[in-house]
Amino acid sequence: MTDIAPSADTLLIAKPAPRSRNLGQIIRWLLLFIGGVAMVMPIAYMISTSLKWPHEVYNVNLIPKEPTIENYTYVLEDGRFYWWFVNSIIIATITTICNLLFDSLVGYTLCKFRFPGRQIVFIAILSTLMIPTEMLVIPWYLMSQSFGWLDSYWGIMFPGLMTAFGTFLMKQFFESVPDDFIEAARIDGLNELQIWWTVAMPLVKPALAALAIFVFLGNWTAFLWPLIVTNSVDMYTIPVGLSGFGDEADVAWELIMTGAAISTIPTLIVFLIFQRFIIRGVVMAGLKG
């Protein structure tokens, strides 16, 4: 679609200055190529390392000399990895669903209702964005300790069930839902919760999809807090568990990379599912205008 316009003006402008245009094109391609390689290399090495025997791991060659799937069988048959995977799935999924619900409820309320103190609440939520996780883990830990949440799903999840960023994102997107829609539904006899769910939420699907991807990936890769709050190996998430693969003396990179390779699969699935909503949402918004 987008290359229609450039090719049309190529017809008009290309003749007087073909050389400089070609050069620009080459530079552009080169930059894109470098960027692409930089993105792909870590993934390529991850997969390559996961297919190597331990003695070959410290060779930089991309193609393993004696490829093996031994690492995969080992990791998949290792009971620990299975549990970490399940933990990560449960935690990332629940956190994502909670964020979609809570962030959009709060965002919607802040956007569409006028009540005393609204601005203050909004600013208070936003200001939490300024505080880095590293500063929060100690209070979280002390809190978990007093409540007895250490080493539990709840303990891992509770700080992230709602995020200021998500609330802000949803509030901004609800601005695009016309007040008329909400008032029309009110006249049609829906209560406020029904209006939020049946009218407002479907109209911000692209934002929900983006938020779902952010939150899922964020929790899937979260390391610091799950590391601190969990004690037993069975409660580890994938990143925490993988970091401890191997023994004290020797880090088993081939196993870590194997686990990492396996653990990218759910993130790919989540991305593929929700990315479609984002594109469809853009199309819908285009038709509306």
Binding site: D180, R186, I187
Partner: protein, 352 residues
Amino acid sequence: MANLALRSLTKSYGSTEVLHGISLDVADGEFVVFVGPSGCGKSTTLRMIAGLEETTSGIIEIGGREVNNLEPKERDIAMVFQNYAIYPHMSVKKNIAFGLRSSNMPKPDKEKRIREVAGILDMVDLLDRKPSQLSGGQRQRVAIGRAMVRDPAVFLFDEPLSNLDAQLRTQMRLEIKKLHQRVGNTIIFVTHDQVEAMTMADRIVIMKDGHIQQVGTPDEVFHSPANTFVARFIGAPSMNLLDGHLDGASVTLAGGQEVTVPALRGGGIRKVQLGVRPDDLHPGSANPIITGKVTLREPLGAETLIYVDTPSGEIIAKADGRTPPQVGETVELGADPENLHVFDVASGAALS
């Protein structure tokens, strides 16, 4: 169906009062149009009737029942918004069905009702489409369908046609009027377009700055405007207003001409404005009022509008389309005495 009554309705936002005591009785089945310039409070009044906006003081009655403290859904009203407010993520059918969501009608009856409404609005074939696949006029019809499906006591329309192009607007105007004749519900229709008001209304309510200026049939507001605001607002081009002095039964204009006006209320000596519509003011009339030089002509086909420079300022008159006076020509303009209006300058109120 029901009548509607507004009793001394006021509305304040903070300390600013934007509606100052609106009182109005609307009969069952009547088509009432609120018209007025932007910001005069039409939408606010409508939204108060709908229950979307709190009333500061005063009473709203629908069908003889005070509804001030009822939720919108309990008021038995339906509203059509300027931007249609139909949901892009639902099919036409779902959109129309939305109006029935909170009714406890059995499902087959709902289905039947939706078909019936789609039939009336001539959109049975469109039921499965998404709003993005509809034209502006069709979208507006979906919005009307959603309002109709519940058969409410009162329909509220807030400038529903202003997003349509001129031709479609004329067509929808007609359709809404036909619809009203067919279903007979009470309609309150808000617009800032006086042509819409004149063509559709049983009665027109003309508002300005939160006050009602006049309530009357299109005929009444056109032929007997209550004040200069109504006189200028209704009719296009606007009524000419010529400054003068009232002395007994005649008005002396700035240029010294004396014009006799029949049936004046309250004589005395005072400053007045003589009002005459361009449609009523012609060159070579039997009852001349004022002379001036033609500065501009606007041919409209059958007739030609002429702009005439007179001692009382520029005024507009209508001349024959075939033999209009030339630009630069001096013309004597006149009007039948019954088409003359006199307004008090101080209050703006009509004296004739």
